[in-house]
């Protein structure tokens, strides 16, 4: 099965990687203590690891080539989840199980776990928001975290300076973030894919730097603390109760978001976004105002980020600029890329995987960011459509009398 040539290639490739990584991985020099540590074992791990990865890669390549020959009808490979979702009875059972689990979750697990799950749910909503911009409309926004920050700081500042409460600020945070989305959207309307990406990245960084440096307004790097938690008709909560409450609020938000995004996807607006993503020129030629469509995508995406920002500030009761780096935008992008651009299920799962797994693999947590980077690269090369490629809506047609029933 594995030829001699491939073994030889693997050997030379691992040799190359040992050379490549030698200074950084093997040598640890301390100029102050004047010591040098030679970590030869790392070189060995590198060699073995690369060799194995190479063989694995060759194996998958082999499988893929042989699968294409057998599988002429690739459209048959609709995943299990989509098949479940398409049959109403199975779908309802599925949703019921998930709902029950979600409700019962905090009582089965510790407060800490609930907190972690709440964070994961926030990333689900963030991912769904970015999904509108990147997945549906095809606009690579690398500065999404800016809107998240705007929402969080809106609540923090209004709470700090005017004592306004969570529920009052929630819609306001979303709206202000949405207007920032418009603000970003206008100048970038004409920009092509990679330039758009860089400008949005710049925008995100500018927002963060302003938050960090405009101390008089934003309290600078030290951030704002003692932000009020969300209330319930003026009731006072203990810490534990508050965490529980926040968790249920997030569940609610996730449900609302999924509902809204689902509706948007299969609407006139959703189709316009996908047309924009697929071919901007043809899209315009078919009567779609690309400027309006882009602006709506930016502001809607920003709206959700703002809402989550408010929740974030309320949950952690503390905000500072360090939470809103480019890395955050990259993580949210990873979620959308991993899950599958435009796919709701994919984004939800992507967020849960990327946020929960590091928690449950505590031992490997320092490799978390390394894994993020690697995932982005690997997904683009091996499975650019993501875990769940977006399935378009199919329709059932009955002959007479022209009754067309949408089938899910």
């Amino acid at each position: 099965m594995v030829s001699l040539k491939e073994l030889k290639n693997g050997f030379f490739i691992s040799l190359w990687f040992v050379f490549l990584t030698f200074p950084i991985v093997v040598i640890k020099a301390d100029p102050i203590q004047r010591t040098v540590i030679w970590r030869w074992h790392n070189a060995l791990y590198m060699a073995i690891g690369t060799f194995c990865v190479y063989l694995l890669f060759k194996y998958f390549q082999y499988r893929k080539e042989h699968q294409v020959n057998r599988n002429d009808d690739q459209e048959q490979t609709v995943s299990l989840i989509h098949r479940i979702l398409q049959k109403p009875l199975q779908r309802n059972i599925f949703i019921g199980v998930i709902a029950a689990f979600a409700v019962v979750f905090p009582h089965l697990f510790s407060t800490y776990q609930t907190n972690v799950m709440t964070t994961a749910l926030m990333y689900v909503v963030l991912g769904l928001g970015l999904n509108i911009v990147v997945g549906l409309a095809g606009l690579l926004d690398l500065g999404f975290v800016a809107f998240y920050a705007v929402g969080a700081y809106t609540y923090a500042l209004l709470n700090l300076n005017f004592g306004l409460g969570f529920w009052q600020i929630l819609p306001l945070g979303g709206l202000i973030a949405a207007s920032f989305g418009l603000l970003l959207g206008f100048p970038v309307l004409r920009l092509r894919g990679d330039y758009l990406a860089i400008v949005t990245l710049g925008f995100g960084e500018i927002i963060r730097l302003i938050l960090e440096n405009w101390g008089e307004f934003t309290q600078g790097p030290s951030g704002i603390s003692n932000i009020s938690r969300p209330g319930f008709f003026g009731m006072e909560f203990s810490l534990e109760q508050s965490i529980l409450y926040t968790y249920y609020l997030m569940i609610l938000l996730v449900i609302v978001t999924i509902f809204v995004v689902n509706r948007l996807q299969d609407s006139r607006l959703g189709r316009a976004w996908i047309a924009l993503r697929e071919d901007e020129i043809a899209c315009q030629a078919m009567g779609i105002d690309k400027r309006k469509t882009k602006l709506v995508a930016f502001s809607l995406g920003a709206f959700w980020a703002g809402i989550v920002g408010v929740m974030f500030a309320a949950k952690t009761t503390f905000v500072n600029p360090a939470s809103f780096t480019f890395l955050e935008s990259a993580i949210i992008l990873s979620i959308v890329v991993l899950g599958g651009m435009g796919s709701i299920i994919g984004v939800v799962l992507g967020a849960l995987i990327l946020i929960l797994m590091p928690e449950y693999l505590r031992a490997l947590s320092e490799y978390r960011m390394l894994a993020f980077g690697g995932i982005l690269v690997c997904m683009m090369i091996f499975r650019p459509q993501g875990l769940f490629a977006n399935i378009r809506r199919t329709y059932k047609f009955e002959k007479q009398p022209t009754a067309i029933l949408p089938e899910k």
Partner: protein, 309 residues
Amino acid sequence: MLQIFFYAGMDYFIELFFSGLTRGSIYALIALGYTMVYGIIGLINFAHGEIYMIGAFTAFIVATVLSIYGFPLIAIVVIAGVAAVIWSASYGYTIEKIAYKPLRHAPRLSPLISAIGMSIFLQNYVLLAQTSDFLPFPTLIPDFDFMEPVAHIVGSTELVILVTTMVVMILLTVGIKFTRIGKAMRATAQDRVMATLVGINVNNVISVTFIVGSGLAALGGLLIASHIGQINFYIGFIAGIKAFTAAVLGGIGSIPGAVLGSFVLGLTESFATGYVSSDYEDVFAFSLLVLILIFKPSGLLGKATNQKV
């Protein structure tokens, strides 16, 4: 009284001027890599800043080891420099083969996302393999005696940086213009398909582009680390963005543009932080980038391209 003030002002101005030139030189060394890669495969190599960082780290490691074992300063400088260039070039070559080559025919966003992933990967790779601390970088360039009278305005390190960059620029321009591989690079940048058809090995040309660009970035990493005196796994990100701004400012894809843009950015940054405020230094660079891309994406020396319908 006024005379002293005037001279002090003049001194400060010249100091800022040379500081700006130095910044510009470093940006140029990095920006060239961006612009060459973009010119040839239309990709913004997000991970290029990390190549620069790895160059600095490799130089640091080699220099520290050699100095602990008692090598003379000249040997350390040369060996560390060569090592930085060799290893950065290797990283550049490998990254292209792993993360970009498979995506050459994919839609535009795919290699960009892959590049972002590579950038994050490399940052954390160095972080894990080395440390998150700021590491003190040895001063590899001693203070020259003949610089003594102007030492308070222009340092020896700055002089070396400027001279090195000038020499490198000239070599690169001559190389691109007169060597066979240089012509192949220009041809591939203009029309990749046609280049293949006339027998140019496009894969090799692309690899060479990455190798040269990475080598230059490594040189930049070595020089700036020696100048500033410390390195850290994150320096690639900011330097990368600024160098990219410089490349775009001058016209992405244009080598003279990258150099021009770098010096313009370096000087403007130096004067802005010197006379106005140093807090908003990075905001300035980012804002400049955003403004150029919005209003004149073709930059100072670039040409606006039209999309065929």
